[in-house]
């Protein structure tokens, strides 16, 4: 059998090497030319508790985590008990018999693997247990040894030759055990027909950090929160290299406050948070909108409301991103659809923020931010970076009547040239009060009417420049799937699988969700007989936004259990719909 798709899950007690086992394997597979996509579930509790790390290996690119597990490595009984159900009936169970007793009626191919014994008694190196496991798993799916050898060398080099050798021995022990005890491992060997070359392995959070640096961000302030803290920590380390700075504020109100200060002072600035922190930023989102200060707010969504389930997935913050803020408060909302897209949409977020002098909310989520994917290395020469328009004396932004700089001069597209402190003649007061073109607070009807229009005119223009929507499937299919964000991954696989059954589907996923990009949406919505709107939330937040602008019937498909869509489940749903509409 030729297999080109394999899901491996390593499960056990949190903090006992689950993640490092997974990461080693991931990196080795990347170097081996496989496409890799990871998925992990941190424990809900502080330490201990059950955790797993999952790796999907594929000869082609995969778009979702994979519905079920091909190879389960269970470190302990709880790991077996909790993950057996998600493992395929003909899957492979690898377990240490001293820890795990599989149930009597198990259908799995079972491999007893005395991990602890090998590490402790054979190698006399108990902490190498994870490396032994890596060797065994790699051998199972047929990864050439060289990639692992070199990884281990790189990883332990600074601990000295002896440590490297001990780990190489551990690796070899794992490999040998499998060779000896699993003769029919062909079934799990992966035959990459088409391998990638030179992809990089990044998480969504890293991709956002990289995008920010590439876009010219030089200031970041954040407050720790799952699953957004990684972005801050990444930028704390790497932003100073460009002369920028990232720091931990005392809370989210301070984080966004600092960002607005930095933006006023001339920097491209951002913060990153998750739901609870985002809720605390709403007042100052309005200040940014009113004072027309560029800024980027990353909201890595998690399951809510309130503290909710910090480590679980949900697309529940779209309402908040699009509509929170008292008064008529313009902002742009972007949602990347994959890890790779996190990089590009972060660049776009800064570009829109700077060009239109408006807050931009970038909606990540637990699924995207936490997982790693092998992605083609972005070509930085093709990355277009936009800077804010500055006023120039006797030029841009200067009133022809009195020769003075007007910070909020009315223009066709609503954008007025900014000044940066230190610029002569550029003095103005940024304020959250309604103000006239000069920036002085004014409360008359005409000013408020004109200035409200000005602020929203910017959005109208931005909508016309929305990033291309994510498309997949057959453009002439009568059944359309309209979705957003990370759900795109599941939908792409659904469409691929549906095609095999002869069901034609067409997906549109706008990356700009506020304002809605009419040129992308209208033709799609008008041309489909049935439109299905899958979202990981209860109320159909995107569906409501679409319906409010494009009256027609829609089929809403919503799940809200803290997990992403299973491809098979969603395909079932769509089959039902198709049956009904034939």
């Amino acid at each position: 059998m030729t297999r080109n798709d394999l899901v491996i899950r390593v499960a056990g007690e949190a903090g006992e090497g689950i993640v490092s086992t997974g990461q080693l394997l991931t990196q080795a597979a990347l170097r081996g030319g496989f496409h890799v996509l990871t998925y992990s579930q941190p424990p809900s509790e502080i330490k201990g508790g059950h955790a797993f790390f999952q790796i999907r290996l594929n000869a082609y690119r995969s778009y979702s985590k994979g519905d079920s597990v091909d190879i389960l490595l269970a470190f302990n009984q709880e790991a077996y008990d909790r993950n057996a159900a998600e493992t395929k009936d003909d899957g492979l169970l690898v377990y240490d018999p001293s820890e795990v007793t599989p149930s009597a009626d198990s259908h799995f191919v079972q491999v007893e693997f005395p991990l602890n014994d090998i590490a402790k008694n054979q190698l006399k190196f108990p902490i190498a247990k994870n490396v032994v496991a890596v060797g065994a798993l790699a051998e199972l799916f047929g990864l050439p040894t060289k990639h692992l050898d070199s990884l281990i060398e790189e990883r332990w080099l600074r601990k000295g030759e002896a440590v490297v050798q001990k780990n190489l021995d551990a690796l070899r022990a794992g490999i040998d055990y499998v060779i000896e005890h699993v003769p029919q491992r062909d079934n799990f060997a992966l035959y990459p027909e088409k391998t990638h070359s030179g992809e990089i392995m990044v998480s969504g959070s890293e991709a956002i950090g990289l995008g920010a640096i590439a876009a010219g961000c030089s200031f970041m302030s954040g407050y720790p929160i799952t699953p957004a803290s990684d972005i801050k920590e990444f930028l704390e380390v790497h932003l100073p290299k460009t002369g920028g700075h990232a720091l931990q504020a005392e809370d989210e109100l301070a984080a966004i406050g600092m960002v607005l200060g930095a933006s006023y002072a001339g920097a491209k600035a951002m913060t990153a948070t998750s739901g609870p922190g985002f809720s605390l930023m709403i007042e100052m989102l309005g200040l940014a909108a009113m004072a027309e200060l560029p800024c980027v707010i990353v909201d890595a969504q998690r399951a809510g409301p309130s503290t909710g389930m910090p480590t679980r997935h949900e697309q529940g913050d779209l309402n908040q991103a699009a509509f929170a803020g008292h008064g008529e408060c313009p902002r742009i909302v972007l949602a990347p659809t994959s890890v790779r897209d996190c990089f590009y949409q972060t660049v776009n977020a800064f570009n829109f923020a700077e060009k239109y002098q408006t807050p931009v909310v970038l909606l990540g989520d637990t699924l995207l931010n936490v997982r790693s994917e092998s992605i083609p290395r972005p070509n930085l020469n093709e990355v277009n970076v936009i800077d804010r328009v500055l006023f120039s004396e006797n030029g841009n932004g200067v009133d022809s009547m009195n020769g003075e700089y007007n910070r909020y001069v009315l223009t066709e597209n609503g954008v007025s040239p900014m000044s940066i402190p230190g610029q002569a003649g550029g003095q103005y007061i940024a304020t959250g009060l309604e103000h006239n073109e000069a920036g002085l607070h004014r409360y008359d009807e005409a000013t408020h009417t004109i200035m409200t229009q000005k602020r929203f005119r910017k959005l109208e223009r931005a909508a016309l420049e929305a990033p291309e929507a994510d498309r997949f499937g057959n453009p002439s299919a009568e059944i359309g799937i309209l979705t957003w964000g990370s759900t795109v991954g599941s939908v792409i696989e659904v469409i691929r699988n549906a095609e095999l059954e002869g069901i034609e589907l067409d997906m549109l996923a706008p990356r700009m969700l506020m304002p809605l990009p009419d040129p992308q949406l209208r033709p799609f919505i008008e041309s489909k007989r049935v439109i299905i709107l899958p979202e990981v939330n209860y109320s159909g937040q995107f569906a409501n936004m679409i319906a409010s602008q494009y009256p027609r019937d829609y089929v809403r498909v919503n799940i809200f259990g803290g997990m992403p869509f299973r491809v098979d489940w969603l395909l079932d749903k769509i089959r039902e719909e198709v049956a009904q509409h034939v």
Binding site: L30, E199, I200, M201, V202, E206, L210, I213, A214, A215, G216, S218, F219, S221, H238, P240, K241, T242, G243, H245, L247, A249, E250, L253, A254, A255, I256, G257, M258, V259, L260, G261, A262, Y264, A265, G266, A267, A269, E283, M284, L287, A291, R377, P378, L380, Y405, P421, G422, Q423, A424, G425, G426, Q427, Y428, I429, A430, T431, G432, L433, H441
Partner: protein, 288 residues
Amino acid sequence: MSSVVTVEKRKVADYKGEERPTWCPGCGDFGVLNAVFKALSDHNFDPKNVIIVSGIGCSSRLPFFTDAYGFHTVHGRAMPVAAGIRAVQPDMPVLAMGGDGDAFAIGVGHLVHAIRRNLNICYVVMDNAVYGLTKGQTSPTAERGLATKATPQGASDPAVNPLLLALATGCTFVARGFSSKPKELADLIARGIAHDGFAFIDTYSPCPTFNTVNTFKYYRDATEDLPGDFDPTDFSAALQYAASEDPLYLGLYYQAEQPTFEDHIRNNRPEVIKDPMTVVENLFEQMA
């Protein structure tokens, strides 16, 4: 906005904005504004190189009446905005101005952290014991029992002592001024600007419209200058004088040298600054 002033030595008038102050006649904030003008002209700063940050309140309107760059933020958030500005423009003088409600009610959490970071700004709080702009509710600096039109039952809690708070959280420049002593106040502000670190100047600035107790006369009677031989490097003396309720001392209580927020940012930068795309490209390399 008027064009750049190029005279050698700038005068007070050079810092005035086009907008006339909208405060009530007799408001203490006029005196503070004049002291700010004076302090800026003492430093002879070019207005285009000064940034004044404020929150929301009558007092927080001050930036509108100057010709500096300004950021009239939202209620209570002047400190983080100032920090963001300083992180990006660490060489441009930043003044923060606002009221007691702004600083000690909604904003006190940020104040504690701005002080702790030793953010290099000068923060002048115009303290009138009430919320002027919202029509006179008592603020955290109101003495327990102070009754106003909007708080007829009287303030329910004891007043915070801003100086003790600042000292306890590690403030490196702690002073108290009074709007009706404009020369002394201007001097304090000028020194606060010159100070390398967080300069905190709590300033009595009466609100004749809504606070009929803490008037100019009240403060004139209640205050006294710190003794001539007072040593502002003596932390325990500063604590002791700051705790005094009668008299209320005016002047510089404490000054110390400590690394600043800006020092930290500078130290955090590598010797060689790289182009962002190079940094990203290098990171890609590590991720392959």
